[in-house]
Subunit: 211 residues, 2 copies
DNA sequence: CACAAACTATACCAGCGAGTATAGAAAAGT
DNA sequence: ACTTTTCTATACTCGCTGGTATAGTTTGTG
């Protein structure tokens, strides 16, 4: 075990480079098969330096996990800002929200990345935990749904459950491709169709009925 | 690599004991951290014998995977027989189906087991594949939904998608507990509530509307 | 310049665990 | 009874990889 104080301050650019390499290799090979030598090589840094920065392999992994979690937090906030603050067209808003999450920035979404990292952690290091800074994604979405409920747009007396249902119907399903497969096999068009169907079903169940 | 012919026939009881032990340890520790010595010890057999039966560690893992898959096939068929052949009360039928899958026999469901094993495989050995004997679960459920559609009980023009939605709303959500956590944390009562809510939402979206 | 911190380069070590070898005992045919 | 197959028991090999040691080089800074 390496305490925080043993770690080197260092330059934040190098920290980032190391995390980038580590994230790539952890995602590609899982925790165990990813080798520290490869991570160091890919980040253009000596293995020794990587250890000086992050202590040990598990420390590096949790650092990757934390960064992705933080980025997802931001993505979610932005997606909410852009879609769920001033809602008039429910369909368009929910659709835009799900789309934003699935394709944040240009690369693959933080949501997909985090999901995979958590799966890896669950298989390889049962001790690792993800601690959310504020609230986990479903919670903040639930808060929005509660608002929409009050405003009479949604019929969602249990907003948290509604959020779970929404995520399950759109994001989760897009990632797994439906069924018990392992890899994400959906291309862009299929993903979008999956999301559209999910939103449609969600709204058919949750849209407030005009009296 | 060990060819089939190198493997020993052996007694089927011993095969089962080895698989039992392997399944327990793979589920508990993942593929990498589970040790062949422990598996052999737990199954009351020498390590050498385990190797004679299954060739190598990966062969043992895929054997476990195949057995669970086969059992899930059976469970699903039975759950369909018991709930989705002669349907009058849609709510009760779908609820019974989901409940049966989640609590097949007395132990934990094959569905949960298989899900976890696939997650482990996905993290630790990207090469392993699950090959379904006939059709994967969602397909057979989709066939049932197609039937219910024809009989005017369900409004599901895309039965496969409906099956994905049903599974996502009930089984998947019960396993993950909602949100991006890793372990299953729901007790029996919570699971049942999750399933009930899932079925309710599913039917609100998919039940055929009386003209 | 001097001095320290950061970093490289490379060699090394130690443990772990998959898989094997060897020798023999116990079933099980025949 | 004899032979073959199955299985036990234990010791062993061997590659891999996380982590470290050592020595030297760069970089920054007063």
């Amino acid at each position: 075990m390496v305490t925080m104080k043993d770690l080197r301050e260092g330059s934040s650019v190098k920290r980032g480079l190391i995390l980038d390499a580590a994230q790539d290799l952890f995602l590609a090979d899982g925790f165990v098969r990813a080798k520290m030598d490869d991570i160091a090589a890919r980040s253009g840094v000596t293995k020794r330096t990587a250890y000086d920065y992050y202590g040990d392999k598990q420390g590096l992994f949790t650092a990757v996990l934390d960064r992705v979690r933080a980025r997802l937090d931001i993505s979610i906030h932005r997606a909410i800002e852009n879609n769920l603050v001033a809602v008039d067209d429910l369909d368009a808003s929910l659709l835009g929200f799900a789309r934003d999450i699935m394709t944040s920035a240009l690369g693959s979404s933080e949501y997909a990345t985090l999901t995979r990292l958590i799966a890896i952690a669950s298989a390889d290091l049962p001790t690792a935990q993800v601690h959310w800074s504020a609230a986990e994604p479903e919670e903040v979405l639930a808060a929005r749904f509660a608002d929409l409920h009050l405003r009479g747009l949604l019929q969602a007396p249990n907003p948290r459950r509604a959020a779970d249902h929404f995520v399950a119907l759109t994001l989760s399903l897009s990632l797994t491709g439906g069924g018990l497969r392992k890899g994400a096999i959906l291309d862009g068009a299929q993903t979008d169709e999956m999301i559209r169907d999910g939103v449609r079903v969600f709204l058919r169940a949750y849209r407030a009925q005009p009296e």
